[in-house]
Symmetry: C2
Subunit: 343 residues, 2 copies
DNA sequence: ATAAATCCCGCAAGCGGTTGCATTTTAATT
DNA sequence: AATTAAAATGCAACCGCTTGCGGGATTTAT
């Protein structure tokens, strides 16, 4: 088989423990022996066996990432790739591995988590979403494994370290942005209130309207879930109602593209007939015509900071619970227009 | 600490080996003891420790996925998410884990691979791309670890199991599709010839033209790399040349979106003034206006089959090298138009 | 009832590292 | 040179599970 620590030890004329200590660069080993041992390791082509180390150290140097169930679906959203990129960046730095859940259904996904955690396959977990009545977070809390989540927990907010945008504020700002352009009839296109992000943004939207004493209208609120067909339906509904909105907020750039297309199909041009602001500032927002005005939620950083906090949690068990809020900023594209009449 | 196989053994009044055999459902253990042991396992809340099993079995039940260096970049392409979804699906079935490379540069990425392989962190690898002079594949070949790749190897084609589309043919068909619509001046928008996919598709394009004795023009061939700016430049170049192409082939839907937008900015409408066909049939192709005619390369299946072959390779060391070609098909959208004059 | 064949299960040696503690080596002190 | 403190290394148990082999118990055949 492959060369082990013992082979190295024998060849270098030292004990296995010494070799082990050389590997971890233990200061108790003299430079001389370190050099000697390292030379032998090179010659023999030795490489550490992680399974063995994991077992001995009771740790794995890998973090599990809980994907919004069904990788397949969540993957299409640019959120996922970007956030993983952020996590990746940090993991690479600290020499951690990433392990993804693979389940397609919520139940399978939960099983994956249990397997990872109880099977000691990971040192910590990052949950990429926050959702009510989701079994994952309570399970993680009980298990005692270090974990962080992206998004605001639905329970025990003060006991869980999480990374998030201030989505209420972000949506409020987005809405204000439209208000300042003179829009008062503003529609909100969400994705259902299954996930906390959606709720928070909806709240921010409503809050902004409330602040200006603008009535909140049910008929201005819709859901679109990555389906062109749903987008078309929404546009049809919008066409039917009396005082058609003059601006729309969509919850992510993908949906914005859907709406943009659906609107254009009906001859409603953006931004002339309808302003459009969305979230995430993904690459796609630069590729549309018009380009999208979008709230940059700094997804990469969201991922990066979550991994950072998690590793902190793993390394120093004394670390306190905290929350990290990543700032958002509106990136102006060409999808919004002022409707204030010039004199 | 957590409950181990020994605790279970003691509580059940059997030996650890028996417990181990119960876990693996070894037929040599009577149903009676199996029931008894399982009951105890439940009561004690036992769960297998994978690190220990990995060490003992010299396997990890996880497969490494080599991402085109820099997750960040490749992630934006819808290829990545989709292919991982396919891999995921199979892994979930066979209870394998997925571990991603995290490196940002080619060198870091290579290091990740080496760590995974030599550190025995994975049982096999899937390389998501094929590229000339890439150190990963030769390394894997030497190491002897089971691996498969998606895309046609640049060397030792007959010694490597790979999964691929027939990209030459696919591009030929796409080109023929345009030719049949009467287009003769057809442009090709690639992404450079760094990766094999790009080369193959370019070849297919040229082949199709050659078959019809249509001259191949350098000035019809461009590269765009996920940048709106590059797309604009291409459009400008196209406007300058004499006999402007009447149709374009882009190498993926993202670039198609870029081109679509860049063209529309210049008042060139698709498909009236310019037909457009692309590759991948990603969700995005349904969200554009017009929808894209695109070659479905069945990325999910590409991922699924690659994982399938890999696991086969891992489980049965006698398996032969093979190649699996996933069929492609043109999915018609509204981005192509016939320019054959009707009488 | 006895021998042979089956069936179950336990023993013990790994798998390849890590680490507390004992021991040896080296350096410092008197 | 002897004594002691400090530094460097070795010993051996352990991490939790797997598995080839051997033997006792049970069943079947004679």
């Amino acid at each position: 088989m492959s060369v082990t620590i013992k082979d190295v030890a024998k060849a270098a004329g030292v004990s296995p423990s010494t070799v082990s200590r050389v590997i971890s660069d233990n200061p108790n080993i003299s430079d001389k022996t370190k050099r000697k041992v390292r030379k032998v390791m090179d010659e023999l082509g030795y490489h550490l066996n992680y399974s063995a180390r994991n077992l001995a150290q009771q740790s794995t140097k890998t973090i599990g990432v809980v994907v919004k169930h069904s990788v397949q679906k969540s993957m299409h959203n640019s959120f996922f790739p970007e956030v993983v990129a952020g996590i990746s960046a940090l993991c690479s730095k600290y020499d951690f591995s990433i392990s993804l859940t693979t389940g397609e259904t919520e139940a399978e996904c939960f099983d994956d988590v249990v397997k990872m955690v109880r099977g000691k396959r990971v040192d910590g977990m990052i949950v990429l979403y926050s959702k009510e009545n989701d079994p994952v977070v309570p399970y993680l809390t009980d298990s005692g494994i270090p974990f962080v989540m992206i998004g605001k927990p639905t329970e025990q907010v003060n006991k869980i370290t999480y990374i998030d945008n201030d989505n209420v504020q972000a949506a409020e700002e987005a809405t204000n942005y439209l208000l300042e352009l003179g829009h008062e009839k503003i529609g909100f296109i969400g994705e259902g209130t299954e996930f906390e992000v959606g709720k928070a943004r909806l709240n921010g939207y409503m809050q902004a309207l409330k602040n200006k004493d603008i009535p909140i209208e049910e008929r201005y609120m819709y859901d679109v879930r990555f389906e062109m067909a749903e987008g078309r339906k929404v546009v049809e509904s919008l066409l039917e109602i009396q005082e058609r909105p003059t601006a729309l907020i969509t919850i992510n750039d993908f949906n914005a593209l859907i709406m943009l297309t659906a609107l254009q199909e009906k001859g409603i041009s953006v931004p002339q007939d309808m302003s459009l602001i969305s979230f995430n500032n993904s690459t796609i927002s630069k590729m549309t015509n018009p380009t999208l005005t979008t709230v940059d939620t700094q997804i990469f950083q969201l991922g990066y900071e979550s991994a950072n906090s998690l590793i902190e949690l793993i390394n120093e068990s004394t670390t306190f619970v905290k929350r990290i809020i990543i700032p958002t900023m509106i990136v102006e594209g060409a999808s919004c227009q002022s409707i204030i009449k010039k004199n």
